[in-house]
Point group: C2
Chain length 310, copies 2
């Protein structure tokens, strides 16, 4: 059942940088996206066309989109909250957008100030308009493994929201562990519930490594046939030593494990490390990816000799 090939959706330029404290210059965002496409990433969530009042880091999205070097075969995508965002994305030359629904009513209210149903109504309009414009729409389902306000979220409710998105012609649902509490014990019930209503080929997992479980969750999901995973280069967006750390799964860590499993991704690990190295100087803190830390500061043979007994 384990897939032979996995699609990695790189969300660093959007979910990563949006949650960084430091503002990153448009030129650096462009360079970052170009390093990511050079690393072989085939899907890059590049930016968000959202209110600059709410997400100031994404105010230069049109500029970033205009300046990146578009490689054929790479899907450069953008987050949009509504029709206005979709139109801005379309004018900027974006061919694929993502919308974000929640599986928890409280989170929906506080994150986007709408009920789940109201947000789905909005996304239905976005999907219709996107279809007219020849654009594809992806759908996030946030708080799928738990909500910071409500606690447990029933898998059936996650499945309902996912099914509603698929019915409005969203091509893929990204089941999201917004607060990083998923573990292999709840990956199975949630994925099983969604897979009962949505083809598994249309299910992606969007994991945060807040509690260190993200790769174990990927492994559990692979066994269920999931073959699309979101990740953020370097683990950007979740500095582990900052308050409010959210800890995106680091793309390097994911690729290291998938390479080890012999699963094809088309992504070059060392090129990812180069992209992280570039951003490390810009974000103003150490890059959280464990793989990055390991290869950036390799153990010398002498250090191994001195320090280890097992």
């Amino acid at each position: 059942m384990r897939p032979e090939r996995v699609t990695v959706v790189e969300v660093g330029p959007r979910d990563g940088l949006q949650n960084e404290a430091a503002a990153i210059a448009a030129a650096d965002k462009v360079a970052f996206v170009d390093l990511l496409s050079a690393a072989g990433l085939a899907v890059i969530e590049t930016c968000a066309f959202v209110s600059a009042k709410w997400v100031p880091h994404m105010a230069d999205s049109a500029e970033v989109f205009a300046r990146i070097t578009r490689r054929p075969q790479v899907r450069y995508t953008a987050l949009v909250p509504n029709l206005a965002g979709l139109d801005r994305a379309h004018r900027a030359g974006v061919g694929e957008v993502a919308v974000f629904a929640a599986a928890s009513e409280s989170f929906s209210q506080r994150n986007i100030n709408q009920t789940i149903d109201a947000s789905l109504d909005t996304y239905r309009q976005v999907c219709e308009r996107a279809g007219e414009l020849g654009m594809r729409v992806r759908g996030y389902v946030s708080t799928a493994f738990g909500c910071p306000f409500e606690g447990d979220v029933p898998p059936a409710r996650v499945a309902s929201v996912a099914a509603a998105l698929i019915e409005m012609a969203v091509f893929e649902v990204a089941i999201s562990d917004t607060i990083g509490i998923a573990h292999p014990g709840n990956v199975r019930p949630v994925v099983d519930a969604v897979a009962s209503r949505v083809p598994v080929s249309r299910i992606a997992l969007h994991l945060h490594d807040t509690r260190g479980t993200a790769l174990a969750n990927v492994l559990a999901a692979l066994e269920l046939g999931v073959s699309t995973f979101d990740a953020s280069c370097g683990g950007l967006g979740g500095c582990p030593y900052a308050p409010g750390a959210t800890g995106n799964l680091a793309t390097e860590d994911l690729i290291y494990m998938l390479d080890g499993l012999g699963i094809e991704t088309g992504v070059e690990l060392e090129a990812l490390v180069a992209a992280s190295r570039f951003m490390e100087s810009r974000v103003g803190h150490a890059i959280p990816s464990r793989y990055y830390q390991a290869v950036r500061r390799p153990q010398s043979a002498a250090a191994v000799q001195k320090s280890k007994r097992d």
Copy 2:
């Protein structure tokens, strides 16, 4: 095949503190061990009876052993390199010791200045003498997933060393990912090779989280029936931001996942966090455990609201 119950071998006081830069006072080591037993850990590798010249942090092992509060049912163990170490451990009241063999000849030479065969001869004597003294012996097999000097290590060689240890009456072999490069793709061949020569009930895994894969490796090993895992409270011994970081699997992260899988351990997660909090002030750096970081600095609802879109 997945076990219903897992034994966690807490190695923080030994493998953790031994690799910390800061010297820890004996009284603090004692307090740490007592916090760990209070957390429900049933096996605690407490110290090492090795040359103080080579491992100065372990010079006070006899004192630590004398001062800990011994709880019934808890196994307090110690690392020993040879007969002299065994005798010191015995005089200190230790009932169970661990020896450390390597699966890689180069690592054996550089770590303990002996060939693998010579070290096994030593451990055979240790086992004989331990038997006479009524002591149990555990055996590490280091560099089981790769060697910093030789690279790949054949699983058959790991199995040979493990089998040799079991033949000399070692009760359990701890298959060790010394440099933290294991991934689920090589966990299976290594565990399968060892399990072809050693009952799986006598196989433990000793993992380092250097590349973030430790929990995924645990998950893979659980599916193979492995039910004993080493871990270090807080992930001590591997500060991710220090050169030569080795990154022990953090006990908190392990327990969080095992709790999620409904696997019994007898360990209280919140009590582990208290033990990490105690040591954080002593080691002089942030505790690397992801779980610890997540609960120590919880996301406020406002931070979630402001920062998240998926």
